[in-house]
Symmetry: C2
Subunit: 312 residues, 2 copies
């Protein structure tokens, strides 16, 4: 079923201990849609690029089955550009620069044919822009949203207004602690859900992810990877796998959301295996299914016989 | 079946944001045995205390069913004492002081009746002392060992000799990275197991625990706690629950070790709910069994139908 994703389509400069490159195809909407398209169709992208965005990159997205009817080309400006340098351990990175370029004047227009999309994915962007997209939608069944510390710190009021209108927030653990102003992640989850979203997913990188819905907590492991090449976009890929899978499910309930967390985790684990979005371009059905089995093996607790007669 | 634990029996000074107290019953051997005794019998303790150690503390351990035939009272000295102050978020603490006292001259003697113990638990201590205990044992089926950054940094040679003689190392994630000199935890796990132990458990606090054995990785969640009162001893309690449960199992295999990780995690989750070792003194069978069910609910992945026909 249909999914719409808004976010950035970008030129990334990525420096890792293993490889560095410029003009890498990147951005939250790119990673979200490249992951989501494995699960559902159509996958609709709403974003803006500049006059310097090459036809070859547009073809990559189109060849992967992404619907580009909402990709605006701003003839007056340059494509959003981000540069990051990863430390030796790949867990930390420095942002080298962020050039907003065409994003500075971006006022998203959701094409008429997109307004009834079942799932809406609000990739990391100014919360004002995220809300303007929601204003144009016609009763989506699930609104999934990402944000980051920059918006938590600089546009808290706008973010709070947005949180009241979304169903599911997906953020990482440091962002959750910062948003809730609370170090205990379980307390933070409760406080954040009181701000609006019924569903909360907290991503913890190498420590997996947690899902909170109603009174349920679900803990998903991370796939144990010895060889991580490039973490760029992993959070967006998680969101794309999560939301794409949800769009595929007939009923969006707790069990479906748990499965979606595993699919999101699996897609993220693939993404970091190669540089930029490369790994997302040639995944097979068999590879995804095999990794799902691996997630089950990782976390399945063997049968336990309850203790009897142990109290002295 | 039988388990022997060596470690410290201590006076702790604990300062948390909620409560502070002096002369709290503590030490690795205390926490290990108080947890292990829920699972197996006998639970044998080998440790030393000083002339200041009160009869009432001895009675606490004895009343909980801990076999104290190996508890030496050194009439010449004072009991090992440790003081710690927790930060507001309880994830970090400062050590206020460590007075070795009677530990400085401790030369453990394993009573004859203890030498055939099935499982040996080497609580955190000087690796030389841990090895002198192993020298006195008569073919234990499983040797479980803890250590800490102090020994990794200050007695690396002695620790390396010890690692060749143990079956299972239980350490936290920062210790694992330091011991292996490797930031990637999965790579670190491989390097550490190449140092000797066939089984490795890495504790990650609020992020759960990981078990490595042969080609198997098992990821256990942490129990989601909103209200943590005192983390003191949680790692030792994990070890006590883990090793105590293993001593109870007929066959020590991969499935049994996975179950043991869950029991260790469950016991640690209880321990932090109250101050010092208090929570370990009145646990019931029903509470433990209920928490085990909660761990299963936390991490069970719903049935997933493999994807078919997704590749464009």
């Amino acid at each position: 079923m249909s999914i719409l994703a808004i976010g950035t389509v970008a030129f990334d400069v990525i420096e890792t201990p293993f490889k560095s490159a410029e003009q890498v195809l990147g951005g939250s909407a790119t990673y979200i849609t490249l992951a989501a398209r494995y699960f559902t169709d159509p996958v609709r992208l709403v974003a803006v690029v500049g006059n310097d965005f090459p036809e070859s990159y547009i073809n990559i997205l189109r060849d992967q089955g992404v619907d580009l009817g909402g990709l605006e080309v701003d003839a007056e400006g340059k494509t959003f550009a981000w540069g990051g340098r990863y430390h030796y351990d790949l867990n930390q990175r420095d942002t080298l620069y962020t050039h907003l370029n065409v994003l500075e004047t971006f006022d998203p227009v959701v094409p008429e044919a997109y307004r009834k999309s079942r799932v809406v994915c609000l990739g990391n962007l100014d919360p004002d822009i995220q809300r303007r997209v929601l204003d144009q939608m016609d009763g989506p069944e699930l609104v999934v949203c990402d944000t980051m510390n920059f918006w938590i710190e600089n546009t808290p009021q706008s973010l709070r207004m947005l949180l009241k209108r979304i169903d599911c927030l997906i953020i990482n653990d440091s962002e959750a602690r910062e948003l809730a102003e609370e170090p205990n992640l379980i307390v933070a989850a409760r406080l954040i859900r009181a701000m609006g979203p019924r569903v909360l997913v907290i991503k913890k990188g190498e420590h997996g992810a947690m899902l909170f819905i109603d009174d349920v907590v679900f803990v998903a492991p991370a796939y144990p990877l010895e060889d991580i090449q490039d973490p760029t976009g992993a959070g967006d890929v998680f969101m794309g796998g999560f939301a794409g899978y949800i769009a595929r499910e007939e009923h969006i309930n707790t069990e479906a959301l748990k499965r979606a967390v595993i699919y999101g985790s699996a897609m993220a684990s693939f993404s970091v295996e190669r540089f930029g979005p490369d790994r997302l371009l040639d995944l097979t059905e068999e590879e995804i299914n095999t990794r799902l089995d691996a997630f089950r093996d990782l976390s399945t607790i063997p049968t336990i016989v309850p203790l009897v007669g142990i109290t002295p």
